[in-house]
């Protein structure tokens, strides 16, 4: 059977370079980077070389890089740090957006319980906020602005450099969850005026279980995990060296090929968007051009997302949805609701996220597969019958 992986926003296939970079550290070089003996020092050297690679890729200094278990931990630590620093000065207001990843939103909710006030900016119909909106939301007691670099469900890329400039000018810390962007878009923390940034290795063909928190020098990180003196004392626990080596190799490879890959994946994305846009009563989610190279997100009226995914899986297409059903909640995706999609439309969502390993032929196969499945599901849907007969009005024209 065919097998097309189109869920690269969930996770990616590891690159051969990443696997090769990890193997020595699963085998011969098993020392603890904190040990003083030769084996430990070999591991330390490798760890610092990986730190240098990550720093080069982000345009920062190695000592501004802290290794974490992944994006969620980095998000938590970044936000907790800024909140702690703010609270010390009596600043307990945070600005963010309504469609952040739950690693950010749930941390903000926890802070609200602790007395912080959070302003979530409206992301409008296309998922783009402006630097002006951020500026208007900043108050004298604002301690942090946290805005994702690019959205994980609908792929919209935010004007990060402009938002960063506004925050720098107003003296407010700026964190960005760059989990979806890192390795896919050129990030420069100096150019973008970023104070804190989170990334995760497995989103750019690295291994799971490794991530980075960049913190501009002078920002004292607040520990989430206390214990040893690893990572300058800011993140206890023996470093996951094999995964970190894989992450550095994957990042280096992704950045070396970034422009070429982005151009090729963007072309596939646009072909897929054009093809799926031919399905009647379908709607692209997120901005048409200001979006991640590989992200395609659609809503199809009269169809429920989980059925769509299961039938696509039967046709060999591995996709994702903002659908609640898979997550065990009855509420549809908070991202699609933030874009103003009504519940009944948000249930019928499909996310296909491409990588440079996908082909135009696969894209054409997916267009056919989605078209057929949507047509079949509409055929057995009482909602579709009511829409067709005019008993109900179409939301998507």
């Amino acid at each position: 059977m065919r097998h097309i992986y189109a869920d690269n926003a969930a996770t990616t296939k590891m690159s051969q370079a990443a696997i090769r970079a990890m193997l020595p550290y699963l085998d011969g070089i098993y020392g603890n980077p904190s040990s003083l003996h030769s084996a430990g020092q070999a591991a330390r050297e490798a760890l610092e070389s990986a730190r240098a690679v990550m720093a080069r890729g982000l345009g920062c200094e190695p000592r501004e890089i802290t290794f974490t278990s992944g994006g969620s931990e980095a998000d938590n630590q970044a936000i907790r740090t800024a909140a702690w620093l703010g609270a010390r000065k009596g600043k307990k207001h945070i600005v963010s957006t309504a469609f952040e990843h739950h690693a950010v939103l749930h941390t903000l909710e926890a802070l609200e319980q602790e007395g912080f006030e959070v302003t979530l900016l409206d992301v409008h119909g296309d998922g783009r906020i402006t630097a002006e909106e951020v500026a208007a939301a900043i108050r004298p007691d604002t301690c942090l602005v946290t805005v994702m670099y690019a959205n994980n469900e609908v792929g919209t890329v935010e004007p990060i450099a402009r938002i960063g400039a506004v925050c720098r000018e107003k003296g407010v810390l700026f964190h960005t969850d760059a989990v979806q962007a890192a390795g896919h878009l050129a990030i420069d923390v100096v150019r973008d005026h970023i104070d804190l940034l989170s990334l995760s290795a497995h989103k750019f063909h690295g291994p799971k279980g490794a991530g980075v928190l960049y913190a501009r020098k002078g920002i004292p990180l607040r520990n989430l995990i206390c214990g040893g003196a690893q990572e300058r004392g800011k993140r206890a626990g023996t470093e996951n060296l094999p995964a970190i080596m894989g992450m550095a190799a994957a990042f280096e490879e992704a950045l070396a090929d970034l422009d070429q890959r982005a151009a090729c994946v963007t072309a596939l994305r646009d072909r897929l968007i054009d093809g799926l846009g031919q399905i009647p009563h379908s709607l692209l989610n997120g901005h048409r051009t200001e979006r991640l190279p590989g992200n395609v997100s659609f809503c199809f009226e009269g169809v429920e997302g989980e059925s769509l995914l299961l039938l696509l899986d039967d046709k060999g297409v591995e996709a994702s949805s903002g659908s609640a059903c898979t997550s065990g909640s009855l509420d549809p995706s908070h991202v699609l609701l933030a874009l103003g999609r009504p519940h009944e439309i948000a249930h019928g969502s499909l996310r296909l996220t491409l990588s440079h390993e996908n082909t135009a032929e696969e894209v054409d196969y997916m267009i056919d597969a989605v078209t057929q499945v949507v047509e079949y599901l509409r055929g057995i849907s009482p909602v579709w019958r009511d829409l067709q007969s005019g008993k109900q009005n179409f939301v998507i024209q």
């Binding site: 429920e304 299961l310 898979t326 519940h343 009482p382």
Partner: protein
């Protein structure tokens, strides 16, 4: 995918009794598109026996499978049996549903009851209203407004 049993996947992939009965004797629709599930059951009834049954469903895999299984379980059966069909029986026949999907089997039970009720109403039959849940009484974790 291991989310569902083989039986659920079979009924989802090859649903039985899909469609519409144009001259149905009773029709029942439950659920709400806002919750992501709508189930509609059509009954053809002769001599208090369900001669034919069809369904249309907008919903997840387990909603489609529950509709398919429930219609199989009442086809050719007397109305009394259809009314006695419980959501547990549907879920059991499907070799189980994940806990957060049990409401799909509830929808199937309710849709059948509602279609039978519709048949009684159309026929002007005097029936025991207590057998049918009032629409505002169903409370199984979804936001139904029937």
């Amino acid at each position: 995918m291991a989310l569902y049993s083989e039986t659920v996947m079979d009924h989802f992939r090859n649903p039985r009794n899909v469609g519409v009965i144009e001259d149905a004797d009773g029709v029942g629709e439950v659920g709400n598109a806002k919750c992501g599930d709508i189930m509609k059951i059509y009954l053809k009834i002769r001599d208090d026996v369900i001669e034919d049954v069809k369904f249309e469903t907008f919903g997840c895999g387990s909603a489609i499978a529950s509709s398919s299984m429930a219609t199989e379980m009442i086809k050719g059966r007397p109305l009394s049996e259809a009314l006695a069909l419980t959501n547990q029986a549907v879920a059991q026949a499907l070799d189980g549903l994940p806990a957060h999907k049990l409401h799909c089997s509830v929808l199937a039970e309710e849709a059948i009851k509602k279609a039978v009720q519709d048949y009684y109403e159309r026929q002007g039959v005097d029936y025991d209203k207590s057998l049918f849940p009032a629409c505002d009484s169903c409370d199984h974790g979804c936001c139904h407004s029937h």
